[in-house]
Symmetry: C2
Subunit: 130 residues, 2 copies
């Protein structure tokens, strides 16, 4: 199949597919005589794997590592488990940060309920004087 069909089947955009290839993440496909990319099922599966990982916010560098792992099936999977654990930590951190930010923003919003002028705006005065 050509890149347009791969895009439809995988749900990735054409530019994203070419980007993954440039990054060395997705294997280079064969080319037709006209230099069009020509994909088979194996590359579709590669791409779906990449997409799964990205949907979990696993970075491209980390996906490289995971692909390397997949190609060495006899080794221990402890690094894979560790990678996921670290992601969970990061997500927890981020949720904490955002919850705190949310609280601050909501308090700030309450300090100016009605429409006032800029110079009377409770929000701006909170932002100005710390």
């Amino acid at each position: 199949m050509k890149i347009g069909e791969l895009a439809k089947r995988s749900g990735c955009s054409i530019q994203t597919i070419r980007f993954y290839e440039r990054q060395g993440l997705l294997s280079k496909p064969k080319r037709t005589e006209a230099n069009y990319r020509s994909y088979g099922k194996a590359l579709l599966d590669e791409l779906i794997f990449i997409k799964q990982c990205r949907s979990l916010d696993i970075s491209i560098k980390e996906i490289e590592t995971l692909i390397y792992n997949k190609n060495n099936p006899e080794q221990s999977c402890s690094s894979v488990n560790k990678l996921i654990d670290e992601h969970i930590c990061q997500v927890n951190e981020k949720i904490k940060e955002l919850s705190s930010l949310k609280l601050t923003l909501e308090q700030m919003a309450q300090s100016c309920d009605a429409n006032k002028t800029i110079k009377e705006c409770g929000i701006l005065s909170e932002l100005t004087g710390s």
Copy 2:
């Protein structure tokens, strides 16, 4: 004061200060004879305002708008209030996304508790077969 002291007093790095100036966010300071930037209290306050906003994840473009508002104190502050409300919405969205991601990651982590080989790894098999 020179840029190093401004950096210490504001908590921004020197590069960040110069970056804000290049972006037109922080006013250009006077220069000494040797072309060193020379700041006064007014610019320190400007920078602190910018830092407050950034700590609430308000973008540089939005800070530009807020600064424009501050310079027109007789106008209505409704756009300021709206900006904050929109931020609260965005933060809520992001928290939802992350909570869902967290759940997925935790379930995935449970699918491989012990150290196995890569080919037996529950995490990798979940990532591979969707």
